[in-house]
Structure formats: structure tokens, C-alpha cells
Symmetry: C2
Subunit: 722 residues, 2 copies
């Protein structure tokens, strides 16, 4: 016994040593699915005992994925080769399956509990059966089994006990979807992590390992759909040549429970169908779409459906033919319905004419259409009314269309939050909207309950995240960008999870379970988004970024083709003060919200300072809650943003030697960039606003380093993501 | 002892097992620098003994790289942590350094031997000293030490004995340079492995680990320079904003002995200098370049110089001002000379007017300029006279400009050899040119001797390779593309190395030392380029590819803006026969070669069939060496190309279970694509040429699957690399 213990210890040492060798550097490719040997010996012992034997009965593609993942994950985490078998030979162990595919599961008598968890849910239980102790992953579908498998692996990765397991988990939201704004030439609109991972040229013949690892990562957080193409769509993707490529991806993703969706360019009947019109009420157009959809399903029998951006930012749509969004959406929905497909029709629209307040337009156009959409249409609404700003009040459509399933659209890619180089953990931002109370049916009518369908009892529900994934080695450019992908998936599964809890899981899986790493990294993450808000757009300011590339400050942007593409349109700074009056005395966008919300936000005294300048034009000398004037408070917030980044730098530096060298250096360099950029934002914005406020920056704060003229001249070339 | 032996065996097993774990998949990122535990126990024992202690004295950046590489490499290969020290504590071991930085090396009495190896050479010796056995890496410079270090690691990786080492190695060619045709927007002209690894947007603040690994890989094969930007240049790279970025890369590469070069757009004085002209004899223009070069050296004190593509394919150049290439090159050379910089002036030029034969133009323009270039100008000549075709006879300029250092330009990226998906090992192609006899100074005047400067006694010499590197995980798309990068570097160091030897080294480092893998993989590689020639452009045919994207066949291409951008211009197929008459009865391009070469190639009877149709228009029914008519022989060659690919497939399939799963699947998929593409080429070309030959494809050969019309309709969209 002693010998084998020694051997084991020695082997452990070797393994530990090898895991440190830089020949396998931590390049971030493995995301949160790092299955390295666990360091906690007591838990290892427990895990080895509970998982002594692993039985998965069945041979379907999804069950094969389950087996492979268990073998890879458990072998790595437990440090000894784990082989999954299809028959229980010993007594006890891990048993995985559905009652249909696995006699062992069937035998456990879980029918009643399985009834309540739906088609995607799973049970993860410690269960005695005929005197033996089992760990059980059971579900009604193989997809549920897959999700349960990843949950178990997560428990191990985060070093949680497997004793007395009693987990019941079902997704709150049915469609949990990534939106890739990926173009067919592999550029990615608002992509900051390299280029598109879809290598269209090599498809359908070449299936990159990356596609499978993408699917694994998504399945591990419950994502069950992916829209492959940019909402600014190219109809070419609907031609046979490209459908063969789409099919290859769909085939690769299917075992992982991920459905493929495409963006449908509304004018496709003209562009690739040789019709003269795309009028949704034209019989030839309708016939073309029917035939096109039929064709798609010959390639992809479980094709998910379409995402459509219509009549927005120059995209064609039904309004080109004086038809409504509902006319357009329903035309597609009608042909998709018999196939089980859906339409996700985006509410991010605005007129070619500049409205009095862009904030109001989606509501104005869509609310009257409530109740007119087919059953398989979801209206996809951005979290806020403008465009993914670091902070926006929730979109007024949430709560305004009870008869229509509203899908949430979050932006995971950090278009306005530092792009590929700033650390900004977005779960708190996502949660802010999901937890926001619309008062649609009285107190407690949160956006989350609207999105998950529970408030209005919709059979379908969905959440979309605009992907931050690119072909960078680590997928997301900034290593902490991975956390936003992770958090999106986890919140789409259950929007009541906490930001802290998600961060903690992610840190443990991605970096380490060591409290000396978890605590400081969590602290950095939790404050990071507010830091960005402060150094970019504090107190409800918004849309102050540079022209087109959206990288860096541009509060001076004016005189562009559309007023609502400028910064001055939004901040409205003048000699008296700053902010967009959206109350009755202004655009009255506030009227689009429930009376309770109006009451809170409409009064500067009760309006949270976080959104004050979103709704009010406030005098420079107005007193704020700190006792400072608005101008001084703005100066303090901008400076505070920079200070927060410096605090993050300090925290990260304290992790030197703890975090692996490659990622340590990477994050360190990015934090240096973030600190520089934060100063750039602070100085450029304050110097610019000072031309209106005519007030000094408080003596005690750091002074701007450059002049306004210098900042206005900065023009990044070849910025990514355009 | 028994216990420790058991322990060791057990540890080995664990290590072996872990090295198989897919959590560290073989994604190809490590290239040939895989430092995994060696499997040969006897050698391991010998290595551990010889390298028991490792001493590197000195602390410079390059010696730090040497230490890090030795620690990483030896720890991985030997399976136990190796720490480099700066003092010899035990007796014997590995000693590394220069006599200047290392008293230990100085003490070994190598002065005489070091005298002969120059500034970049190294000695690798087994040497007794004061009764102790040493393995010695010694050189005159730290760069030499670096190269010796990589050589030692290569010996270990290829499992060669370290006993009685007596290696003396110096590079034959002085400038060993990669040319990146990378644009500032990260697209890569003729790049098929993703996008540019230069992330200009994040520079200078973010130094990607990839830059360092790029430098390590290049240093390991002796590459000592890199031209960062496309020859179709953007003058923006010469502005201060971008020079700061270039400096950051130069700083990162310097410890690895790699100098940075840029492409200079000839019209930069107009575009970024606000001058009205770029006339090289205009004093203001000359002053502008002087000041620009001075500025560059303030950023990069060891800046290498410029590569220039002028008056070619629409690029501006001295001829725009009725000046000669020498006027242009010398203007730049003059301001670079005091700084130690050089000019690499490309000979790939052609008039805006279509010449009688594009083959002749570079010679026509450049030969008269021989002797007029400044001493720090190299004229960079492509291996052949047209454009990187699968096979070209050597460029007539080799041997024609004895007073000018001619630099070889090879294309590593497979623009015309299957791009990112075909297996084509290019060392045999490179060697074919390097070994070609120009007869410039009688028999034995090989292109290699001209390029390395030995034939004409030039103090500078150079070889450039157009890079196939992109931001794909494995750098080169096809795993075997790595072999071409490797082979280029090795041949730039020593063009007398054999293709087989280089292949063998590369296979052992990249895949395995197991003979059961080395032999079949080598067999595949050695035949691969000839296979491509056969299924694309056999018997001297050339320039038959599709329009613009150059992917797939397009022998029917005609009626384009320039005749010499079409295929019909080159193959000249008609009812009588096929081929470009370049003898006296035709364009007489042959007259540009030495009489001995003319005699051989000018007579169809003595002209090797490999280049027959390059020089002769041959009748369809002419007899070939096989006894078949030309038409039948063409059919046989095209078919043989397809058969060769099928043989590669078979060989590769036999390696299932031996090669790691990820790369096995990857290559397998690529071979499937190659087989499909080979058929596409064969069928499209034969059907097209058949419209002239009016002869049947021999009965015994596979028939085309599609019709010519179908093949002519194929139009790849968004093909990469344009």
C-alpha cells in the first residue's frame, strides 16, 4: 500500500511538473473547459469514489459527445484514465442517460421527478439503489443529459462536493442563441477578436476542430442555437453553394444540441431570386420564400429559422413596399411554421428620417403591432432603446407588447465597452436589465419574466447574445471576454443566477480554485463595468464615442448624415447644462414606460443618478447626491473611472507568479491599454464639456494631459470591427 | 534501485498517458518546436548524462532567450526540470556562449576554429577539457550561440547521438528573410491561413505571445529578417503612428536575431510627405527620404531597410518620372547606407504595355542596369520568369547580372500550388532552382552559388520567402504548410541540404521519430509537388488558373485588361498543338540564357519534358518519351496527378491511430479536398484542351465527371488571399 501511495505521489509530482511546462502554454483556447488535474486531495478521493465507474448506455451522436466529454473531462480532472462503459459491472458509480436509452436510469424510478423538468432539464442526484450508491445524471432527452454532464463537470472543476447531490435544473428561456455578426468574407462587424471562425471557403469539406470546440463550449453553458451570419445580411448565404456549407456546420453542431439559424436579407427574392420585388404580400415573393425555405430544410432538417434586420440602417424591409413589420415577419413565419422554424424579427429600427428622439422609435413602430404576429415570431429587442451603451435604462418595449414573445438582445461583444482590450465583466449589466421592473403587470414584472415568457405565458421565449467570438487563439481577444460569453449562456439558462456566482464559477474553471486568486479576480470583475461607465459615459450620458469605429471618445461628433448618428444629439451640452430631456418638456420618451417608472425617472430628485442625464437636461450647478455640483460630480465620476482601472492594475499585479505567465502578461498589457484609454476618455470628454460648462476641473483631481485639439485629431486607422 | 526504476516507469506511463489527453490537443501551434518527452530510453540516458548541467554565462536579451529555450526544450524532452546556471558547479555538461561573454568558452581554446565560422556560425562539439567531458555550443556572436542552441535541440528532437559531436555550421546566405504580403487591415495578399498575425490596432501596447513564438520559430531555422508589410505597399506604415508599432515588433524580435524591414511605397513623398513629385532625382524628394530614414532609425536603430516593388502591376516607381530602377533604388540606398540599411529592389516588373513575352521583361529592363546599383542594393528575383508557377525554369536574370547581388525570391505561400488545402512540399521546387546550372561562368554556375554570392564574390547575399503564415491556430492552414516555412529557412541557411533530409528532420520534430511514421510521411511529401504539377500544369504548361483568386483551373481565361493576365496567352493551344514558342521562331526568350542552356532547352529533342511546353509549341501528335502522343501524354500526366493524390490518401489512411487524432483528421480532410480539386483541374483542363486537340481521352483513363460548361461556370466567392 505504501509503495502504491508513493508511486501515486510521484506520479502526481510528475504530472504537476508537466502541467507547468510552457510547451503547453495557457493560450486560452480551452476557455473554461480546462480539465487539469484537481489539486484538492480530499475531494479527489471523494470524486474517484463517486465516479469509480461511469456508465452511459446508448450510441447516438449526442450520447457519444457525452461519453467523450466525460472521458476527457474526468481523465484530466482525476488524473487517471477514465473509460466510459455501457454496462454496469461493479456496484455504484456514475450513471448517465434517459429512461428511454438507459435501462439503468429507467430502473431508478425517477419518472415523477423527470416529469417536471421539461425537454432540456436534467436531474443530478446522489441516489441509493438496491444498496449501492449512485451519482445519477438523468433527463428526458439526450440534450438534457448533455447539459447535466457539463453541470457535473462544472461541479468538479469548481471543487464542489458530490455527496448528497439533489440538483434539478431546467432552462428558464427556451431559445438561447448567439448572434454572429460575421460576414461571408470573414470580417466581423463589431468583432474585436480577429476574424470570423467560419471559414466559408473551406466549407463544406473541411470541418475545423474549432467548430467542434465552439459547440462544446456553448453546450457547456446551455446555448442551443447560433445565427451564423451578420444581421446586415448577404443573400448569397441562401444560395445552394452556401447552404451546403451551412449544412456542414449544422451537422457538426447537431450532436451538441445546437441549431443553426441564418439572417435573411429581405430583398433576397430580388437579389438571388430574380424577382422584381420583395413585397411580402406579393404572391410570387411568398412563393419564392416558401420554395427557398423548403430547399433549406432539404439541407438542414432541423433548421432553426431566420433573424431579420429590416428597415433599419439602410437594410431593406417590408416598409419599402408600405407594408408593416408584421407583414414581413409573418410572411416568413408562415412558411417556416410547418417545418418548426421561427422568425426573430429585430426591433432595432429607425426611419430614414431622423425622429424627434431615436429612443422612441422602436416602441412607436412595434407597440401597435402587438397581437398581429404569427405564433412563431419573436420580436428581438435590444436591452436598451439606443444601442448597447455602457448603461441604458431598459427598453420601453419590455412590458409594452404582452401578446408577443419578446426576445432579449444583449451585446456580448464590447462595441461600446472597450472592444477587445478593456476588462468589462458584463453580467452585472445583463442582470441590470433582466432585473429591471417594467411594472407591466404591477410590481415585480421584471424584464427577465417578460423575456422568459412567464409573465405573459408565452410558449416560446428567447435570449440572443451578439457574439464576441473570433479566430484569435483565445477566442475573445481579452481573456476576460470569455467571461461574458460564459455569463450570457448561464443567464440565458437562468436569469436569476447572480453575477458574483457566475464570476466565481468562471474564475475557478478558467484560472484557479485558490481563494488567493478567486477573491481578487472576482473583485476586479465585479467593479469593471461600472468603471467603464464612469470613464466613458457616467450619469446617463450615452453615445459619445468616436465616429464609425466606436473606439475612443468623440463627444464632439456632429454634422453627420443623420443627427442621431452624432454625439451632440445625445448629450445636448450647452451653457446651461447637459443631458437629453426625455420628460414631457422634452421628447417625452418617458411616456413609453409604465406610470410607476415614469414617476421614478421623471423627477430628477428620484431619478437614479446613473440615468439622470438620459432623461434630464440638468444645470451645471445643480446639486447632486454627493453634495457636489453636477459639473464637479461629472469630473469626479470620470476620474473615478480611471482610478478604478488603476485599482484593477494593482490587484492584477498582486497575482504575479500565481496566474500562469502567458495570461498574466496578456491581461497586464491589456490593463495598461485600458488605463491609457480611460485617461483618454476622461480627458477628452471633460475638456470638451468644459467648453460649455466654463467651470474648472476640481483642483484635487488629475489634470488632462493633452489639449482638446489634440484629442479631436486622434483618428485610429484600420480599427477592427467596422 | 528497483523501486526507483518502478517509479520511473510508472511516471513515464503517466506522462505518456497525459501527453495523449485531448485537453492538450495537437493543434499545430507549436510547429516543429514540440519538446515532448523523448521515447528512446537509451538516448534519454545519454542525453541526461551529456546535458547533466547546463551553463550559459551572460545576461543579454539574446542569451536570456537561449537560456529560456534550453530550459523549456530540455525540460520537456528529458522529462525533468532543467535549470540553466551561470557557473559550472559539477564537472562536464553543456556549456554555451561566446568567448567574450563566457570565461568557460574562452577557456576551451576554440579561437582558431571560431575564426572560420563568421558572425552567425556556430560550433557544436563534444570536447574533453581538464579531464571532463563537455558538450559545447560556441560562437563569435550571441546570434551564433542562438543558432547553435536550436541546432542542439534539433539533434535531440530527431534523436541523434550527442557523442563525438563535431559540427561547424555557418549560413551560406547572409540575409534570410520572410516577406509578409500583409496589409494594414490584416488581410494578407495570397494568404491562406487566416489573416495577418500583425494586430496593428493593438500595437505598440500589446505584444502578442504569438510574436515571440514567431520569432522563436524563425530563429530556430536561421531566419534573420522579416519584411512586415505587403510589397503592394501602403505609405501609412512610414508615419510616426505606425513606426511606433513597427518599433514594438522590432524590439520583440531583436533578441531572436531578427531584423525588421518595411516595404516602401515609391510615392510616399507625395502621399504622406505632401510633395508634388516622387521623382528620385528631385532634391526635395531625396531630402524627404533622407529625413524619413533618419526618423525610422530613431525608432529602430537596427532597422534592416526596404523592399520595393516599383513600376509593376500598377505600383508607382521611378519610371513614372522617366528614371531607371537604379535611380530609384540608389536614392533609397544612399540614405540607408550610413545607417547600415539595405534596399531589396524587386525585379518582378512589367510594363503597362503588354510585352511580346512577359518572360523577357525583367531581363530586358534589369540586365542593362548591372553595375549601376549602389553596394547596399540587392535585386530580388523570383525563382522563375513568370510568377511562382508549380514549375518554372530558372529566371534568366540569374547569371546575367554578375556585378549585382541577386536575391532569390521564393513563394512559400502556395498561391498556385493549392493554397491552404493542398499538400505540396516545396523543398524540391526550391532546390530545383537553386541547383539549376546557369552556365554563367561555365558548368557548375548554379543559381544557388549566384544567390549566396560565392560565384561573383558579393559581400551581401540574400534569400526571401513569401510567407505562408497567418493567424490560423497552426499558422499555415495545412499542417504540411509548416514544412515549407521550415524548408525555406533551412535552405536559406544552406542550399545544399537535401529535400529528403529536411523533410526527415521536420517530420521527426513535427510528428514522430517512429520509422513507421517517418517513412510514409516522407514518401508523401517527396512526391507531392510533382503531383501538383501534374494535375495543374504538366509538361511546362503555366498560368492556367482561375481569374483573380487563382484557386482552381481557368485555362479558358481570355479577354482581360492585359493579354498577359490571361491563360490563353500562355498555353497558346490551337488546332495544331499547344505551348509557348520561346525559341527564335517565337518570342526568343530563350536567348536570355547562356548558350549551353539555350542548346538544351531550344531543341525539343533535348528539352526536358518537364518544361517542354514552356519553350515550344508542340503538335498534338508529336511523340513523347513515353512513346505516347503529346495529347495522350498530357492526359496521362493529368491523370497521374490525381492518382498521386489518391496514393497520398492511402498512405495517410494507413497512419490512422499513429498520428494524433486532431492532425490526422485535419490532413485527411485536406487530402479529400485535394483529391477533389485534382480531379477538377484534370477534368477542366483536359475538356478545355480537347476543344483544340479534338482527340479522345485514352480509353483506359478515368473520364471527366462534369462538362466543360459546368467547370467554366464555377466561380468561388470570397476566396481568400485576394
Amino acid at each position: 500500500m505504501n509503495l502504491s501511495k508513493n508511486l501515486f505521489r510521484f506520479a502526481l509530482l510528475v504530472v504537476l511538473f508537466l502541467s507547468q511546462l510552457p510547451s503547453h502554454a495557457e493560450d486560452g483556447y480551452r476557455l473554461w473547459q480546462r480539465y487539469d488535474l484537481l489539486q484538492n486531495k480530499d475531494l479527489l478521493k471523494q470524486y474517484r469514489k463517486s465516479l469509480g465507474e461511469v456508465v452511459v448506455q446508448g450510441t447516438s451522436p449526442t450520447l457519444t459527445v457525452v461519453k467523450d466529454e466525460l472521458e476527457m473531462g474526468l481523465s484530466g480532472l482525476l488524473g487517471s484514465k477514465v473509460t466510459v462503459s455501457d454496462q454496469a459491472s461493479k456496484k455504484g458509480g456514475l450513471v448517465v442517460g434517459t429512461p428511454t436509452t438507459s435501462p439503468l436510469i429507467k430502473d431508478l424510478g425517477l419518472d415523477q421527478r423527470l416529469k417536471d423538468i421539461g425537454q432540456e432539464g436534467f436531474l443530478l442526484l446522489s441516489q441509493k439503489h438496491k444498496g449501492n450508491a449512485y451519482t445519477v445524471i438523468a433527463a428526458n432527452s439526450e440534450k438534457g443529459v448533455l447539459y447535466g454532464t457539463f453541470h457535473l463537470l462544472r461541479l468538479l472543476q469548481t471543487q464542489q462536493s458530490l455527496e448528497a447531490l439533489n440538483v434539478t435544473s431546467s432552462p428558464k428561456t427556451k431559445l438561447r442563441i448567439l448572434n454572429h455578426w460575421d460576414n461571408l468574407d470573414r470580417t466581423v462587424e463589431r468583432g474585436y477578436a480577429g476574424f470570423s471562425i467560419w471559414d466559408w471557403h473551406k466549407l463544406p469539406d473541411y470541418i475545423d476542430q474549432r467548430y467542434l470546440d465552439y459547440a462544446r463550449a456553448n453546450a457547456s453553458i446551455g446555448i442551443n442555437g447560433t445565427v451564423l451570419t451578420n444581421v446586415n445580411a448577404n443573400s448569397l448565404v441562401l444560395t445552394p453553394e452556401y447552404l451546403a456549407k451551412v449544412k456542414a456546420l449544422a451537422d457538426a453542431f447537431r450532436p451538441y444540441g445546437i441549431k443553426v439559424y441564418l439572417t435573411a436579407r429581405f430583398s433576397s427574392p430580388i437579389e438571388i431570386g430574380k424577382l422584381k420585388t420583395a413585397d411580402p404580400l406579393d404572391p410570387a415573393v411568398r412563393a419564392w420564400w416558401k420554395s427557398k425555405v423548403d430547399e433549406i430544410y432539404t439541407y438542414i432538417p432541423d433548421f432553426g429559422g431566420f433573424t431579420v434586420k429590416a428597415n433599419s440602417e439602410g437594410q431593406p424591409g417590408p416598409q419599402n413596399y408600405k407594408r408593416s413589420h408584421a407583414d414581413g415577419a409573418n410572411m416568413l413565419a408562415e412558411v417556416l411554421a410547418p417545418k418548426g422554424g421561427i422568425v426573430m424579427w429585430r426591433a432595432f429600427v429607425y426611419d430614414n428620417n431622423v425622429p424627434d428622439d431615436r429612443h422612441k422609435q422602436a416602441y412607436t413602430e412595434f407597440k401597435p403591432l402587438d397581437g398581429t404576429f404569427q405564433g412563431n415570431v419573436l420580436v428581438q429587442v435590444k436591452n436598451g432603446a439606443i444601442d448597447f451603451q455602457p448603461r441604458e435604462p431598459f427598453h420601453p418595449l419590455f412590458g409594452a407588447m404582452p401578446k408577443t414573445p419578446l426576445m432579449m438582445e444583449f451585446q456580448i461583444t464590447q462595441e461600446y465597452l472597450g472592444q477587445g482590450t478593456h476588462l468589462a465583466y458584463l453580467a452585472p449589466m445583463f442582470k441590470e436589465t433582466l432585473a429591471a421592473d417594467t411594472y407591466a403587470k404591477g410590481k415585480g414584472s421584471t424584464a427577465g419574466k417578460i423575456v422568459d415568457g412567464s409573465l405573459d405565458n408565452h410558449p416560446i421565449s428567447g435570449m440572443a447574445g451578439v457574439s464576441n467570438i473570433g479566430n484569435d487563439r483565445n477566442w475573445t481577444s481579452h481573456p476576460f471576454g470569455q467571461a461574458n460569453w460564459y455569463a450570457f449562456g448561464r443567464l440565458a439558462w437562468d436569469h436569476e443566477l447572480t453575477s458574483e456566482g457566475i464570476a466565481e464559477e468562471w474564475i475557478k474553471m478558467t484560472f484557479s480554485n485558490a481563494p488567493s486568486q478567486v477573491a481578487p479576480i472576482k473583485q476586479m470583475m465585479m467593479g469593471s463595468r461600472e468603471a467603464v461607465v464612469n470613464y466613458m459615459t457616467p450619469m446617463g450620458l450615452h453615445h459619445l464615442m468616436g465616429w464609425s469605429h466606436h473606439y475612443g471618445p468623440g463627444p464632439w461628433i456632429k454634422d453627420k448624415p443623420r443627427a442621431d448618428w452624432t454625439s451632440v444629439y445625445y448629450h445636448r451640452a450647452d451653457e446651461k447644462g447637459i443631458g437629453f430631456d426625455r420628460t414631457k418638456t422634452g421628447s417625452n420618451a418617458l411616456s413609453q414606460y409604465a406610470p410607476e417608472v415614469q414617476a421614478m425617472w421623471g423627477n430628477p430628485a428620484t431619478c437614479p443618478e446613473e440615468v439622470l442625464l438620459w432623461f434630464h437636461h440638468v444645470a451645471w450647478d445643480a446639486k447632486t447626491k454627493s453634495g457636489r455640483t453636477l459639473w464637479d460630480e461629472l469630473c469626479y465620476r470620470y476620474s473615478g473611472g480611471v482610478d478604478s482601472v488603476r485599482a484593477m492594475q494593482k490587484t492584477w499585479n498582486s497575482l504575479a507568479g500565481q496566474v500562469d505567465k502567458e495570461r498574466y502578461e496578456q491581461v497586464k498589457q491589456y490593463l495598461d491599454i485600458q488605463e491609457k484609454d480611460a485617461r483618454w476618455w476622461r480627458d477628452a470628454c471633460l475638456l470638451y464639456f468644459q467648453t460649455f460648462s466654463k467651470r474648472p476641473i476640481p483642483q484635487e483631481l488629475e489634470k488632462p494631459q493633452g489639449t482638446l485639439e489634440e484629442y479631436m485629431k486622434i483618428e485610429p486607422k484600420f480599427a477592427p470591427g467596422i
